[in-house]
């Protein structure tokens, strides 16, 4: 898959992982695991990028005597997911057209 495309898709996946509620790094990886394999080293720059773009916010909270960072989606992050859904519907339409031509040629 094109690297830039995958990068954009992973960004949306991470936002979708925190949409239901605040989450933390390890939980985000576990939630995504059934759908996409993502490593800690891949997730870290994604979280930084999303925070810089104000698509999520970060807060530290005490957990079992240590600090843990929790990530929350922002309204801009929610909009990003909606934009992705719209883009995906268009992409699906193009995909159906491409696949239809292949089916007809077979």
């Amino acid at each position: 898959m094109d690297i830039q495309l995958k990068r954009g898709l992973l960004d949306v996946c991470v936002l979708a992982a925190i949409k239901p509620g605040d989450s933390y790094g390890y939980q985000i990886i576990r939630d995504m695991k059934p759908y996409v394999d993502i490593s800690e080293s891949t997730l870290y720059p994604i979280l930084r990028r999303l925070e810089t773009a104000e698509l999520l916010t970060v807060r530290s909270a005490e957990h079992n005597g240590r600090l843990r960072k929790y990530y929350s989606i922002t309204p801009s992050g929610l909009q990003r997911i909606e934009d992705f859904k719209q883009d995906w519907r268009e992409m699906e339409s193009i995909y159906r057209f491409v696949v239809r031509e292949e089916r007809e040629s077979q």
């Binding site: 933390y24 790094g25 390890y26 939980q27 490593s39 800690e40 080293s41 891949t42 870290y44 720059p45 979280l47 930084r48 990028r49 079992n64 240590r66 600090l67 843990r68 960072k69």
Partner: protein
């Protein structure tokens, strides 16, 4: 490798970067390790699971803006001795122009890539304008001459078709050039990351 050894190794690989970036990275991976340990995973297994230090440091450095990478690369890892400082100053008429020349070459290559893209589309535009000119020439300059009109129309169609084909070709070529620019940028960044790995 245990948690502390991992932190020491990662800190060494990220040496030269702003302290805030290093601390942020260590906190993130420390949290990942602690979460796994909380899940019952032994510490050394948890450390191995987050990835190798080289891979992690490479990813962090590749994500850094080039300016930060350059600063980290040129920043001395230890206090310079007096003779080293003198050598740097005395040698500046040599290394400084070379550095400026290298930066200028990189910038020139980047500008050239974009100039090629702009000139390709300018060529497409000129052919499109020629199509309009042929149309005007046929209908306006020789309205009473059928051959003239047909010639103008034919010329306009040929130019229009050529412009469309050229546009498709130019767009594909422009995408390749943009990708080449991105690869060049990644290569420049990797030069600063790669050398750090070899020297440490």
């Amino acid at each position: 490798m245990n948690r502390e050894q991992f932190f020491q190794a990662l800190r060494a690989r990220l040496a030269g970067l702003p302290e805030a970036d290093i601390v942020s990275s260590l906190e993130y991976y420390g949290e990942m390790i602690d979460d796994r340990v909380e899940d019952g995973v032994p510490e050394e297994v948890a450390v191995a699971a987050v990835g190798s230090v080289d891979e992690i440091a490479g990813q962090i450095l590749m994500d850094m803006p080039l300016t930060k990478l350059v600063k980290a690369r040129v920043k001395p890892q230890r206090r310079l001795k007096a003779w080293e400082i003198v050598l740097l100053v005395v040698g500046s008429p040599v290394w400084l122009p070379l550095l400026i020349a290298l930066a200028a070459v990189v910038l020139a290559v980047y500008i050239t890539l974009w100039a090629v893209i702009v000139s390709l589309y300018a060529a497409v535009l000129s052919v499109a304008v020629a199509a309009i000119a042929c149309l005007i020439g046929g209908f306006v300059l020789s309205p009473l001459s059928l051959p003239g009109v047909l010639l103008g129309l034919g010329g306009a169609l040929v130019c229009a078709g050529l412009a469309v084909l050229m546009f498709l070709g130019c767009t594909a070529l422009a995408k390749c050039i943009v990708k080449l620019g991105q690869l060049l940028w990644q290569f420049i960044k990797s030069c600063f990351i790669g050398k750090r790995g070899k020297t440490e």
